[in-house]
Amino acid sequence: MTPTQRTFAIFTSVATLLFVLELVRRRRLKEEYSWLWIVTSAGMLLLSGWYGLIEWVSRAIGAVTVTTTLFLFGLLFLLAISVHYSIVISRLTQQVRRLTQELAIVSADRELEPAPRGQAGRPDPSAPS
């Protein structure tokens, strides 16, 4: 890995990490959805900053260059994040379904009750007298 590649990798990881933390600080991103991003950028920072580690990992997975390792791990993390989102969306779908059904049942119940108690027989205040 050339010094330029390394500087760029470290810079990108730090920038991503700071950007995610800033989003969480301003509550634009919820803490529970930020952890995978933080793990990703911290992992990239570790890999690009600690040359011995990335060399060891490259040998272990059989990668020819260390940049391949960096790309590969970036890709794997993105995959993990996408799957995580699919899980979140499935949960949200379930919650929306539950909510919509509940609302439908409550509205059907209200339809069955003619009028709220205490209102029946009283003159409509908005009607002209």
């Binding site: 779908t93 379930q94 929306v96 379904r97 919509t100 059904q101 609302l103 439908a104 049942i105 509205s107 059907a108 339809e111 069955l112």
Partner: protein
Amino acid sequence: MHGAQRILVVIPAFNEASRIRRVVDGVRRQVEGEVLVVDDGSADATAAEARAAGAVTATHAANLGYGAALQTGYRYALRHGYDAVLQLDADGQHDPASIPQLVAALDHADVVVGSRFLHEESYRPPLLRRLGMWLFGTVASGLAGQRVTDPTSGYQAVSRRALAFYAHERYPADYPDADVLAMVARSGLRLTEVPVRMLPSPDGKSMHAGAVRQLYYVFRMSLALGLVPFRNEKP
């Protein structure tokens, strides 16, 4: 014989304003019970038409799918202490004359499926669709350990025990058919089929229209059926 049983008729409806009234009237001539029309976010006057026909209506704020609409009916029935649900489609495909047989079969079953293939005068769907039904029916039969002839039938009677099973999150929002019947039988609920008369959908409209949707259905149902043995569902 079911004088003591309180039965709720559930009709899931999506854009059926022109037909829902006739269906509700037809049902009324067969059963005494309350009729609940679940309007699955229709853009037309389905809910108003159903109300005019004397049905209670539960309206989804957004379109959730056929299975989700049925499930709203199950949850409504459970909450209001009904003993059973009779469900039929809103497009007039299901002849209400078969309702008494479905309800009567609840005496010895938890889920009673109305099968068009057991009925001689019933309408038969086109060949390709029948082939798919046969295929999924065969797989579902193998998983259920009993013969399922009409896995896609939405014409069913459901006991209170099965209602609790259906009200669970496992119930699919889109196509609750072969996989659900297999799950029902495997969970220890009693499943049975009775012959019913079905008619062709008046304008040929089907929720299985379109090549992409059919492919998706095949994929979706294969996946769900394939997972049935690996899911341990308890009633």
